[in-house]
C-alpha cells in the first residue's frame, strides 16, 4: 500500500469517527445484545439494540479494536438509530454490499452517508472483516430484538437468552 492508498484507507472521516466515536457506550433499555469477536486480531464488540414501535430507538455498543472497526461502529450508530427497522436493515445490506465490492462499487451517498468513506477499506480483504464486525453484530441483535416482540408493545425488558456470542470466523481465515 502506498501513501495515497493509505490516505484512502484512513480517510479523515474514518479517523474522525475513531477519535470521536458517536453513540459509544452500553445503554439501557435494550431487548437484545450481541457479542462478536474477530479471532484473527482479537477485536471484540458488544452491541445492544433497543426497539420501539418498529423503530431502532437506540444502538449502544462497546468494544476494543482497530480504527476501522471502531469507526464502523460509530458510523453504524449514526446510520441506524432512530430509523425504522426495515430502513436500518436496508442500510446494513448496502454497507455489506459496499464492503464486498473489492472497491469497485459506487456507493449511494444518500443512503450510506459517512459510511461511503469505507469504500477504500473494501480494497483490503484483511480489513473488510474489521469494518463488518459491528454491522454483523447489529444484524444479529436487531433480528433477535425484533423476534422478541418487544418493539410492538414498547416493552423494554431484556429477555434471558437474547444475548449471543458469535465468532466472525466464517471464511475469514483464522490464524490460530
Amino acid at each position: 500500500m502506498t501513501q495515497p492508498q493509505l490516505d484512502q484507507l484512513y480517510q479523515e472521516i474514518i479517523l474522525d469517527h475513531y477519535k470521536h466515536p458517536h453513540g459509544r457506550g452500553l445503554r439501557e433499555p435494550y431487548e437484545a445484545e450481541a457479542h462478536h469477536v474477530n479471532p484473527t486480531c482479537g477485536d471484540e464488540v458488544t452491541l445492544r439494540v433497543h426497539m420501539h414501535d418498529g423503530a431502532v430507538q437506540d444502538v449502544s455498543y462497546d468494544g476494543m479494536g482497530c480504527s476501522i472497526s471502531q469507526a464502523a461502529a460509530s458510523v453504524l450508530y449514526d446510520l441506524v438509530h432512530g430509523r425504522r427497522l426495515d430502513e436500518a436493515l436496508r442500510r446494513q445490506e448496502a454497507f455489506v454490499t459496499l464492503m464486498s465490492s473489492k472497491g469497485q462499487a459506487e456507493p449511494d451517498e444518500e443512503l450510506l452517508e459517512d459510511a461511503v468513506a469505507f469504500a477504500g477499506v473494501a480494497k483490503y480483504p484483511a480489513r473488510v472483516k474489521c469494518a463488518l464486525l459491528p454491522w454483523m453484530a447489529f444484524k444479529d441483535a436487531a433480528a433477535r430484538a425484533a423476534a422478541s416482540g418487544a418493539d410492538e408493545g414498547g416493552a423494554a425488558v431484556k429477555r434471558p437468552g437474547s444475548s449471543g456470542t458469535v465468532t466472525a470466523a466464517a471464511n475469514l481465515g483464522s490464524e490460530g
Binding site: C41, G42, M64, G65, C66
Partner: protein
C-alpha cells in the same frame, strides 16, 4: 566461516523485492522464515529428477526418493543431537507433533493425573491439552508469567507434583521472545516421574539445541520457521519412550501385518508416519539444516543477539512504545512484541506495510499471553539470520509515521 549478513542475504531471492516502492523489510520470521536458494533448488531438483513415493518401491526413483527422505531424517537427528535418526518423527508441523503426544501418550491418562503447561504458550501447546483433559478427566495446570515476561517458577514444587504426568512448556516464547530456563523444570519433573516436552518451534531455528544436554523427553518443532518448506514438522522423542507409545494416525506405511480383524504396527518412527509423508518437504528441511549447519547455529544466535540488542535500543526511542517481555537482550531471542500507545496493532501493521515493513499483528496464537499483559493484541517484529540494522531503522521510521497518522 565468518558471519556476513550481506552475503547471506544474496542466498534469499525474496529479499530483493520491493513492497509499495520500498525495499522489503521482512520482520516476520517468527511467523515463517524466508527460504534460501539452496532449499528452493533442492525442492526443484527432487520434483524434477527423483520424484517417487518412499518406503514401498523397488525401482530406482523410489530408492532415490527414500534415500533422500531418510537422509533428511538423519540430518535433523544430528542437528538436534538426537541419539538416532529413529527418534525423529516427521509430522506436518509442531501442532501435529504436540497433538500426536496428546493422543498417543495422553490416552493412558485419567482422573487425578495432571498436565502442566504455562501462560506463555502458543495455542498449539494449550488446546491439545485442554481437549485431552476433557477426554480423560485429567487436570490442566500452568505456570504464570511475571511482569517481566519470564516464567514464574516460584510455584514449581507444588505445581509439578506426584500427580503430574507431563510438563509441556515453550522453549522460546513466540510473543515475548523469552528463552525459558529448563533445568529446574526438568529436574523437578523427573524427580516426580513426569515427562518433559518442549515446544521448540522458535528455539530450534535460532539457537543451538541439543536434546541430550536439555535432558528432556520430547520436543516439537517445525520446518518452515527454520528456512525449510511448510508442511513438515518434527517430533523428537527418546527412543524407549517412542517405542512405548501407541499409534496416533493410522493407515499405510505404519503397519507390519494387516488382517481384516487386526493389525500390528511398525517400530517408531514409521509407526507415527501414516500415509504418504511430505517427502519433498522433508528433503527441503534436510537442505535447510545443511544451510544452517554450514553457517553455524552459534553464529546465528550471536547475530540474533546483536540485532535484538540494536532493536531494543532503537524501539526505546519511539514515544509511547511499550515492550512486552524482557527489555534486555538476556534470556530472550529476536522476537519483540510491543504496543504503541493509542494505536491498535492492526493499524500499526497497515501503516508499516506502506513503507515495506512486514510485521505480525494480532494475538499471535497466544491469546492468554495477551490477556496476561492486558491487551487484545500486539505488534510483533521478529528477526533472523538475514535481518539487518537498516531494516530495524525502517521499522522505527515507520512507527514514527504511524504516530503521525493517528496523532
Amino acid at each position: 566461516m565468518s558471519f556476513d549478513v550481506e552475503k547471506i542475504r544474496q542466498d534469499f531471492p525474496i529479499l530483493d523485492r520491493e513492497v509499495n516502492g520500498y525495499p522489503l523489510a521482512y520482520l516476520d520470521s517468527a511467523n515463517t522464515s524466508q527460504k534460501p536458494r539452496q532449499v528452493l533448488d533442492v525442492l526443484d531438483e527432487h520434483y524434477s529428477r527423483h520424484n517417487a513415493n518412499v518406503a514401498r518401491s523397488v525401482h530406482t526413483l523410489g530408492t532415490e526418493s527414500t534415500e533422500a527422505y531418510e537422509g533428511a531424517r538423519a540430518k535433523v537427528a544430528t542437528f538436534i543431537g538426537a541419539g538416532s535418526p529413529d527418534e525423529i518423527v516427521f509430522t506436518k508441523n509442531s501442532t501435529e507433533a504436540i497433538n500426536l503426544v496428546a493422543y498417543s501418550y495422553g490416552a493412558r491418562l485419567g482422573p487425578g493425573d495432571e498436565i502442566v503447561i504455562s501462560e506463555m504458550e502458543h495455542h498449539s501447546n494449550i488446546v491439545p491439552w485442554q481437549l485431552l483433559c476433557e477426554r480423560t478427566g485429567a487436570t490442566l495446570r500452568w505456570f504464570g508469567v511475571t511482569d517481566e515476561g519470564r516464567l514464574d517458577l516460584s510455584t514449581l514444587d507444588t505445581l509439578v507434583n506426584e500427580r503430574t504426568k507431563l510438563v509441556s512448556v515453550v522453549h522460546m516464547s513466540n510473543t515475548l521472545g523469552t528463552i525459558n530456563p529448563t533445568e529446574e523444570i526438568t529436574r523437578r519433573a523427573h524427580e516426580v516421574g513426569a515427562l518433559v516436552m518442549l515446544d521448540c518451534s522458535q528455539s530450534v531455528p535460532h539457537l543451538p539445541v541439543n536434546v541430550a544436554a536439555l535432558d528432556v523427553d520430547l520436543i516439537a518443532f517445525t520446518g518452515h520457521k527454520m528456512l525449510g518448506p511448510t508442511g513438515i514438522g518434527v517430533l523428537w522423542g527418546r527412543s524407549e519412550l517412542l517405542a512405548d507409545l501407541p499409534p496416533f494416525l493410522a493407515g499405510g506405511s505404519m503397519i507390519e501385518t494387516v488382517t481384516m480383524e487386526k493389525t500390528t504396527f511398525m517400530a517408531p518412527p514409521a509407526r507415527f508416519e501414516a500415509g504418504t509423508p511430505p517427502i519433498a518437504q522433508a528433503i527441503g528441511l534436510g537442505a535447510a539444516v545443511d544451510y544452517l549447519t554450514a553457517i553455524g547455529m552459534p553464529a546465528i544466535a550471536e547475530h540474533d543477539r546483536k540485532i535484538t540488542t540494536y532493536a531494543l535500543d532503537a524501539l526505546s526511542t519511539v514515544e509511547g512504545l511499550r515492550i512486552f517481555g524482557p527489555t534486555v537482550p538476556v534470556g530472550r531471542g529476536g522476537t519483540i512484541s510491543f504496543d504503541l500507545a493509542g494505536v491498535h496493532p492492526h493499524d500499526v501493521g497497515q501503516v508499516l506495510d506502506t513503507v515495506g515493513v512486514q510485521v505480525r499483528v494480532g494475538h499471535h496464537c497466544a491469546r492468554p499471553t495477551c490477556v496476561r499483559f492486558g491487551v487484545p493484541a500486539m505488534t510483533r517484529a521478529s528477526f533472523y539470520l538475514y535481518t539487518t540494522t537498516e531494516e530495524i531503522d525502517a521499522l522505527v521510521r515507520g512507527l514514527n509515521q504511524v504516530r503521525k497518522v493517528f496523532s
